[in-house]
Symmetry: C2
Subunit: 168 residues, 2 copies
């Protein structure tokens, strides 16, 4: 089995756009509300879960930490809904996504997601399960509950990808 | 104008139930996922925003801190959608809600929401705007975007309520 090293890149809205939203106050529309006592950074991510009679739910994910080398052997996607991860830990985490190639995940791209920044995987986007770093880390997650099969998993059949360093 | 002191009570699921969800891992259904590397605390809050063609959006609120005495002169509610606040700051905040009395807010109840715990105001529930404590504090907010008027505000006409201490 071949092993291909992949490099980690900084997370930018532009680079991540094909895969979903970067959830961050950077560049967001700001509204002063509540008689001036609150600043609202408006509409950082849209939740797309109504396909097939779904509804949005909020959960908390507690992830064990990973450390390099991180081997990427499989990817998953949710055909019926977006899935948003917002870090509660103050620590960075790794985001690994891939374009679709005829119903299978293509070559993965890895991003370092800095503290205070989340991601919202668009519906049906290949992504790796949660890759916390440094310590056990909590995330607020917004995804879909409802009828239908909302999980598809695929192993890479003849290759492994390996992340040797998490710094971009 | 009369001023009535109100006491702050601890936030419990039972006491808050008429007003919405307490968003906490306490008592939540736990699922081990991602080949055992992630613990999912499942479905801590349901998002109720589809009324009138609405959709869920995620925003970040940055609230100025309040300190006692906190005067409660008005309340607001969102007739078309729930609104969830999850603290990102590691600090407590105050939650003030009220039953409806013929289309106006009744006597308020105040709760101290501890770090790591959020609330999801049910649709059309009277609540006070964000009351951060101690320092400027960020919250992840899930509420509704869409057509229609989703904000109703009411002053208490002949009374003020006053919170003199935040500890329950």
């Amino acid at each position: 089995m071949r092993t291909i090293p992949i490099t980690v890149r900084p997370l930018t809205e532009q680079a991540f756009a094909p895969f979903g939203d970067v959830v961050s106050v950077e560049g967001a529309e700001r509204r002063l509300i509540n008689n001036g006592s609150t600043e609202r950074f408006h509409d950082l991510a849209g939740i797309d879960v109504s396909e097939g009679g779904g509804r949005a739910i909020v959960s908390l994910f507690r992830g064990q930490p990973f450390a390099p080398p991180v081997v990427v052997a499989m990817m998953e996607r949710h055909p019926l809904g977006s899935q948003l991860f917002y870090p509660l830990s103050g620590r960075p985490f790794l985001v690994v996504v891939a374009p679709d190639e005829a119903g299978r995940p293509g070559e993965p791209l890895a991003f370092l997601c800095p503290p205070g920044t989340g991601v919202n995987y668009a519906r049906n986007t290949w992504h790796h399960p949660l890759l916390s770093l440094e310590a056990v880390s909590d995330f607020l997650v917004i995804d879909r509950e409802g009828p239908g099969n909302n999980l598809e998993e695929r192993e890479y059949p003849d290759v492994r990808y390996r992340i040797d360093a998490v710094a971009p």
